[in-house]
Amino acid sequence: MTETRRALRQLGRPHAGARAAAVLLAGAGAALGVAALGVRLAPHVTAVVAAWLGIAAVSAVAFRFARRAARSASALPLARAAEAAAGARSGSVATLLAAPRAEGASAALFAVADRSAASIVTRVAPAVRRVLARTTSGSVALGALLALLGGTAFVAAAPGAGRAEGFWRPWRIIALARAPLRLAVDRSRVRRGEAVTATVSVPGGAGGHVTLWTRGPGEPWRPAVVSLDSTGSGARRLGPLDSDVWVRATSGSRHSEVLRVAVALPAFIADVAVVARFPAYLERADEPIALGPVSDTVSLPVGTVLDASGTASVPLSAAAWRPVTGGAGTALSVAGSRFSGRFAPTHSGVWRIVIGTVDGQPLEGEPPVLALRLVADSAPVVTVPVPGGDTTLPFSLVQPLVIDVRDDHRVARLALESWRVSQTGKVGAVVRESLDVRDAGDRAIVQGSLDAQRRGLLPGDTIRLRVVAWDNAPTPHEGRSPEYALRLPSREELRAAQRAAAADIVAAAESVSAAQRSLADRTGDLAQERARGTSDPSSGRQPPPGQTGALPFQASERAQEIARQQEAVGERVRELAKAVDELARAAKAAGIDDTAFQARLREVQEMLGRAMTPELEQRLRDLQAALARLDPDATREALRRLAEAQQELRETLERSEELFRRAAVEGQLASLAQDAEALRGDQAAWNRESARRPDSSAAAAERDLAARADSLAQGIAQAERDLAATRHGADSSGALAEPRAQARRAQGAMQQAAAGAERADASGAEAAGAEALQHLDSLPQELRERRDSVAGQWRQEALDALDRAMAETADLAERQRRVTQELESGGSPSAARTQQAEIEEGTAAVERQVRDAAGRHALVSPGLQSALGFAQRQMRSAREQLEQAQPNSDGAAQLAGEALDALNATAYAMAQSRADVAGARSGSGFQEAVEKLAQLAGQQQGLNRDAMGLMPMPGMGADGMLQQLRALAARQRALAEQLERLQATGGSGAAGPLAQEARDLARQLDAGRLDRQTIERQQRLYRRLLDAGRTLTGPEPDPDMERTSRSAQGDSVHLPGLLAPGVTAGPRIRYPTWRELQDLTPEQRRLVLEYFRILNAPK
């Protein structure tokens, strides 16, 4: 080593070490910084590994730079620095650092040079040292600074913390980084709509991220980034889930397994249907019932069965209806996820369908509940609005009833129960009458009547009634109306009412007769006016031009008025007949079972019943039709024919009026006789029981009897007046004076007896009572005898009148025979004309007598008047033939001959009528006619039976059948002849049409025609025979009565009858409805309706 090198080495050595240390310090600082970064990023594998690599690199670089820094203070740089500091030639020092190696170099020389250079170095050493120091100190400072910074960062990175563990143990991190990801879900099966939490654990992945992949069925994977926490775990909520979901996680090349989260359907009941099936008798259609968690209360009839079915979303293990309050339920059958079954609730309450699932999964939501109210079938509710309370039976003893019955389902049966309660309180057996309520539905309003006449009631008795209804339940429920008491009027009350009613009917009959008389006159006048106006050319009045044959307005109005009034009179006649009928029944109920009186009433009823003849009604219809057509000729003819029919009606009414007037007197007398009888009995009882114990009560009772005696006397006086009002009644007016006086005497004695009783005078009371009884003793019998006497007198009057008429008719017939012979033999027309006129006048007189007789006795045939009228017309015609300028004797002879026949027939009929009147049990003959009709009805019934027997007769030969039919025809014909005879004698106006029908039937049978139609006709004929004489009813107010108005008082009730069948029959083709036509114009509507009218028009 040279001196120079040595000097330089000494000079540079401290600096070389300092500089290397500075570099090392800097390298350490850098390494610490990297380590701090690695700690900070730990346990990130890459960061940690990078950090350690960085530390290694920094360390390597530091060492290298340390060596380099140390070399910067080595001999060579110092040599050059010394050369520079010494200003020496370059290389003058540096070349002496090493001994020369070339051959031939002087070592000495070199040594000199070496020393010289060493001296230079020594000399410039301070300067060089200063330069070196400057650089070295800078390097050291920088190195220290870096080291300080690195150390600070390292300390700040908390190398001791847990996180730093990964940094300090990098091999472990690397090992974890290669481990797989862990993925977990909190539930692998969830309900629809729920969510799950997926947790990913990444070993060594703290603070990192993973990708969580999810997908549904058939869907692509969808990524989601999950941040990891410091423990390398991350979680993510998935849902709400509608379907299964698959989950996996990835992190770099690492991945987890794939997990499936299954979505289970919720367990719930769906498609629940509950159908109420009502008991069959209710005839109600099944009804679905809505269920829900909260159910409104459903009312169901007892016996209703609930048919429940439904489906659950899961397989079921059990199902049942259970009451929410606990207790036994009704199991339903289960099949898979379905349940069904029947449930018959037995009590009201809230019921729930309880479902059990196979997997025990509870059901979603609240189970369906059903709040039930079981309604027991109620009994029918029955009210009886009419009479609506206890009352007294009407005079007719027929109590009208209106029954209103309701049920919650259907009224099946209805019955009227009534029983008699006697005055003594004895209760009779219940009489039950069924009432028809078929097709009534849940309500029926039934009209009926309680006929007390058939109950054999006694005065003072009470009928109690109630109405019982049953519904249509299997075990019918019974509903009853309140009980009503109907008091039977006493006989005295009934008799008094009967007499008053008879008086009313007399007045009504008078009014009707007067109205008909007036109407007939007006009709006749109008018919004659019309005839004069159109047929009398001498009147000089000609219809205006263009109006020939037109019906004048005023005439039309008058004719219409006549037609209307005729209808009204007809109604009144029918009303009258009904009133007579009611009177007869009421009289019977009142105990006036006098057969003569009853027969007389029947006669009058018969007469009134046939007063409105079919001919009259037909002629009325003809008139109305003619008026509707405005046909003057037809109107005129209809008026004429109506006038004729009216005449007949008028006469019938007049006859019936007189007959009824007499019947009423007979009834009065019979009624008074019974009053007297009752009074006598009561007086006898008073004498027996009260007269011996006279006191105030006995006196009061006797005063009551005196009042009844007074009433009896007044009644007899009234009968006297009524008797005098009858035709020829004045002759008999004195017949009742003695009975009336007797009643008065009895009254006087009773008053004395009452006074005696009041004074407690037993003997006086007894004596006066005995006297009263004595006066009364014969009074009933006397009154009956008077009645018989009056009836006999009237019959005798009729016989006398018939005798006179018969004698005169025979005389007239003889004279008519002579006139006829004269005319036939060519005698003088003028003489014959005179004789004919006289006979004609005589015939008119006989007709008046017959009419008079007919008014006294019903068996005087009205046919007599017709025959006499015919005779008169023929006589008039014959006379007119003779009055011509050229008398027509032949024609007159023929007409006179016809008049003769009519007179002879009349005389014969008169003889027959006389025999009838004389032999009539009833005193008037109608009873016989009715009996005859009944007898004929019986015959017809036998015929019908035989004809029916012939209908299905297999095996009988045609000849045998024909023979049987002919025999039937002969019997039918015989019946027709009897009817014709009955008609000829005037016994029954209905006999004519019946005879005609019988004849037709006989012809049918004769012709071998026995079919269903013939049988039906025979049945009808039988019924008509039975019904002959029945009357119609129909209230109609008097149109002429002045009307006044005031608020209604009382309970004036009119109960309408049922609708006649067919009234509500609709058109064949239904007309368009209001709504259907609403959008059409009026003209279109008109056309449419016109079209339907044509379709519906009768063919």
Binding site: T383, P385, V386, V402, D404, R443, A444, I445, Q447, Q560, R564, A628, P1035, P1037, D1038, P1039, M1041, R1043, T1044, S1045, R1046, S1047, A1048, Q1049, D1051, S1052, V1053, H1054, L1055, P1056, G1057, L1058, L1059, A1060, V1063, T1064, A1065, G1066, P1067, R1070, Y1071, P1072, T1073, W1074, R1075, L1077, D1079, P1082, R1085, R1086, L1089, R1093
Partner: protein, 207 residues
């Protein structure tokens, strides 16, 4: 050009203005009172007043309930007869209320309208006596006339009651303001109830 817009006339009763001299305008407060009762008791949106119609007016066809009353004569012309018959056949309803003296002429005229359908007494079981209020004894009697009971007659077209004739009842008087006739409240009420029944029947059975 016809408008396609249809007016929807308010439901009300038509008062028939007829010829013949009768006072068709009688009982002026009756129908407003009845309409008020109908509105209050049934909820039907009826007008406050009636509509006066003649048989030749177009309003007739928008009137389901035609009411006629009066004391005097009624006369329908030939044209009127046809219109009235068509109106009734296509679902209209006529209530004739005899207010005193209309009986004869009404019966005559209605027989001209329906010669083939007689006036018959409406049976107790008919809905007009039970639809809303119960009348188990039939039509109530409001005014006493001739001592005769009240009666309800009708004409049935098929099973529908097309004409109702209240006779001897005077429903119209009963509908009037109570101080007009000084009827007892019970009668006023009964008349209104019967009117409500009739109107309800009409609007519920109109075809």
């Amino acid at each position: 050009m016809r408008s396609s817009v249809r007016l929807n006339p308010q439901l009300t009763i038509g008062r028939l203005h007829y010829d013949g001299g009768g006072d068709w305008y009688g009982n002026p407060s009756s129908l407003p009172n009845l309409l008020a009762a109908i509105r209050q008791r049934t909820g039907l949106p009826v007008a406050e007043r009636e509509r006066v119609v003649t048989l030749q007016s177009g309003d007739l066809w928008d009137t389901p309930y035609l009411y006629m009353t009066g004391h005097g004569n009624v006369h329908f012309s030939d044209e009127d007869l046809g219109v009235l018959r068509r109106y009734l056949e296509q679902g209209g309803f006529l209530h004739a209320d005899d207010n005193y003296g209309m009986d004869q002429s009404f019966r005559r005229e209605i027989a001209r309208v329906f010669p083939d359908h007689p006036l018959v007494e409406v049976p107790l079981s008919h809905p007009i006596y039970h639809l809303v209020y119960d009348f188990p004894k039939g039509i109530p009697k409001i005014h006493e006339h001739d001592g005769l009971p009240a009666q309800g007659f009708g004409i049935f077209l098929g099973d529908r009651l097309a004409v109702y004739y209240s006779y001897q009842s005077d429903l119209g008087d009963g509908w009037e303001d109570p101080d007009v006739h000084h009827d007892p409240p019970a009668l006023h009420e009964a008349a209104l109830e019967m009117g409500v029944n009739l109107f309800t029947y009409v609007v519920s059975s109109t075809r």
